[in-house]
């Protein structure tokens, strides 16, 4: 879909987001995703529509039902879930087709089947600000408070 030149700029975007996640937001277990084989061992090694990042945030990003407050305060926090991050540029024109292709490539989340696929969209602007949005592949239960 993307030309070789465009792809190199997408890789540039990803390097910005990667360093931002690592150094500004202290994400861990960061892994770069380039091909379908990076998402699923059994898949073919075709390149992904867009290069992405897989990583673990320091705190759980989105949880419609926060752990019941009575017990959580003193006890150890559960490990935050791994997230998929999609770097995009502010001046880009993104289409529904792009989003669909990104979501189609992702594996279905484990557990209950009403959990939707989720990505973190990292929007880069010219002054190095990265604005993060959480995007679900469908309607999800809203967060409390």
């Amino acid at each position: 879909m993307a030309t070789a030149d465009g792809a190199s700029h997408l890789l540039g975007l990803r390097s910005i987001v990667r360093s931002n996640l690592e150094y500004q937001h202290y994400w861990t277990d960061l892994r770069l995703l380039n091909t379908f084989a990076d998402l699923n061992i059994n898949a073919q090694g075709d390149p992904l529509t867009r290069p992405m990042i897989h990583g673990r945030p320091p705190d759980q990003l989105y949880n419609p039902e926060p752990a019941s407050t009575t017990e959580s305060s003193s006890q150890q926090k559960p490990t935050p879930e791994m997230e998929y991050v999609l770097p995009v540029h502010l001046d880009e024109k993104l289409t529904l087709r792009t989003w669909a292709a990104v979501f189609d490539a992702l594996p279905t989340p484990p557990g209950d089947n009403y959990r939707k696929k989720r990505i973190v969209v990292a929007v880069i602007s010219g002054d190095s600000t990265v604005v993060y949005y959480i995007m679900h592949d469908g309607i999800v239960k809203p967060r409390q408070n």
Binding site: D5, G6, H9, G12, S15, I16, S19, N20, Y23, Q24, P66, T69, T70, S73, H89, L90, D91, E92, V123, S125, G126, D127, S128, T129, V131, Q144, N145
Partner: protein, 473 residues
């Protein structure tokens, strides 16, 4: 630090101990005294009948004090970030302090990453950064929300219990009707207290131990990104007016502001042991294309190089490079012609607006977090919150095109909603874009850049949501 006793917590990096949190703040009026990174000198007023004054002025004329050290900073254009990066620490500090140019690539605005990292690893030499202060505030708010959720849940159980009681006894134990309003915490608390004192059930004894003056987020400081939590505001006023039934000796703890200050002190309590850590700098000062161009072309204090060459670029080369990199993906090389310039390009339109407001003395920053193109700060971000959010709208009246923004009402409405939440006024800035014929031959003229920019005309329209019920006077 030595006099710090058990009770008083002195902040690290601030050795004039017992200090109020206010004095921790550096004096920004001194740090940011210069609005531009140029050295200015003031000649005393000329008094014609005083020979000394004339001699002084002649001296200044022949030996101007700035000639000896004209400052030139160097930045490098990066095709990856599509911006200009400054890495020399001296230049970074200067550009930030004198006019708030650029942004730390790993910080919110001022480049503080190194300091934050050193503090995180326990270095005792550096002071608190603004990011940490915000983080604390957010953590407090998170705690408050958690507490609120817990209270709501308890209240719900309470009501259920009471209803069950009613069903058993047949008659109401207390005449007060039970109102559940999930939104107002304090109402819940009052209700809770009322219920407790009236019924005095042995159910959950730990409930009363929760202090009435629940720490609400500090209201004096408005969080830029979140705006004023109106809910919290109403609840505070009620806390103060509310019944203080179980007031312990710690009465001042009921004032929310003081509770917050106390929290801030306890968290910054540290054992004053010198610790030094070495961290490799990962951050650079990132200048947007407009900032870089303004510093090079209009102020003349920045030289911009490209990767693999130390030769600074000329203004026309710079213009071509920036026009190519003002969209994503960037335009291929030699696709932009300087002599046959198309004035309808994102860089020139944005730059015209940037130049306009910078020249009027505003500090202009990108406003992506508030869904606008630019934010306008009076004096600078450390002094005040941004007053205006700028939306750039190109206008093609000279192109013979119909004036059509191509956006729907809800687009504008959502932007004004976001910005009125954070008390900003939205400015619609119309840029009248010249046609290619209007600017033809600009590059052959003397000071052609000026002539080119003069062709862009700028009109501002301030927009504000008006609520008839609220703004009667």
């Amino acid at each position: 630090m030595a006099e710090a006793s058990g009770s008083s917590a002195s902040a690290p990096g601030n050795n004039t101990a017992p200090s109020t949190p206010k004095s921790k703040r550096p004096n920004y009026n001194i740090i940011h005294a210069n609005p531009l990174p140029v050295v200015l000198y003031h000649a005393p007023p000329l008094i014609p009948h005083n020979p000394l004054s004339i001699i002084h002025h002649l001296y200044l004329f022949f030996f101007p004090p700035i000639n000896s050290h004209k400052i030139i900073y160097t930045g490098m254009f990066s095709p990856v970030t599509m911006s200009v990066e400054v890495r020399d620490p001296k230049a970074v500090l200067d550009l930030w302090q004198k006019g708030f140019w650029g942004k730390g690539s790993l910080s919110r605005s001022e480049p503080t990453w190194l300091n934050r990292e050193m503090r995180r690893l326990g270095d005792t030499r550096v002071g608190e950064t603004s990011e940490e202060i915000t983080r604390k505030r957010r953590d407090q708010r998170k705690e408050m929300k958690k507490e609120r959720a817990r209270k709501e849940k308890e209240e719900l159980e309470k009501v259920k219990e009471a209803e069950a009681d009613k069903n058993i006894n047949g008659a109401a134990t207390n005449g007060k009707p039970i109102v559940v309003d999930a939104k107002v915490v304090v109402d819940l608390e009052e209700e809770l207290n009322g219920l407790d004192s009236a019924a005095n059930q042995p159910g959950e004894p730990h409930k009363l131990s929760v202090p009435l003056g629940l720490p609400t987020p500090p209201l004096s400081v408005t969080d830029e990104s979140d705006g004023l939590d109106l809910e919290a505001k109403t609840s505070t006023s009620k806390v103060e007016a509310g019944p203080v039934s179980d007031s312990e000796p710690s009465a001042p703890a009921l004032q929310p502001a003081k509770v917050v200050r106390f929290d801030a002190n306890t968290t910054s309590k540290e054992i004053p042991v010198e610790k030094h850590v070495n961290v490799k700098e990962q951050e650079h000062l990132q200048l947007t294309l407009c900032e870089a161009f303004f510093l090079t072309y209009a102020v003349g204090v920045l030289e911009i190089t490209t990767q693999g060459s130390s030769e600074p670029l000329a203004v026309s080369k710079l213009l071509e490079l920036f026009i190519r990199h003002s969209c994503f993906p960037p335009l291929p090389e030699s696709s932009v012609s300087i002599s046959a310039l198309n004035p309808d390009n994102a860089f020139l339109i944005n730059y015209a607006v940037y130049h306009h407001f910078r020249s009027l003395g505003w500090v202009v920053k990108l406003g992506v977090k508030f869904s606008v193109d630019y934010l306008l700060y009076k004096r600078g971000p450390v002094f005040t919150h941004a007053e205006f959010g700028v939306l750039i709208i190109p206008s093609y009246s000279r192109w013979g095109r119909e004036e059509n923004v191509g956006k729907e009402w809800h687009w504008l409405h959502s932007i004004t909603r976001v910005n009125s939440q954070v008390k900003k006024t939205v400015l619609l800035v119309y840029v009248d874009v010249p046609t290619a014929d209007d600017v033809k031959g600009w590059d052959t003229k003397h000071d052609g850049m000026k002539a080119l920019l003069a062709e862009y005309r700028i009109r501002e329209v301030a927009l504000r949501r008006w609520i008839p019920g609220r703004n009667r006077d």
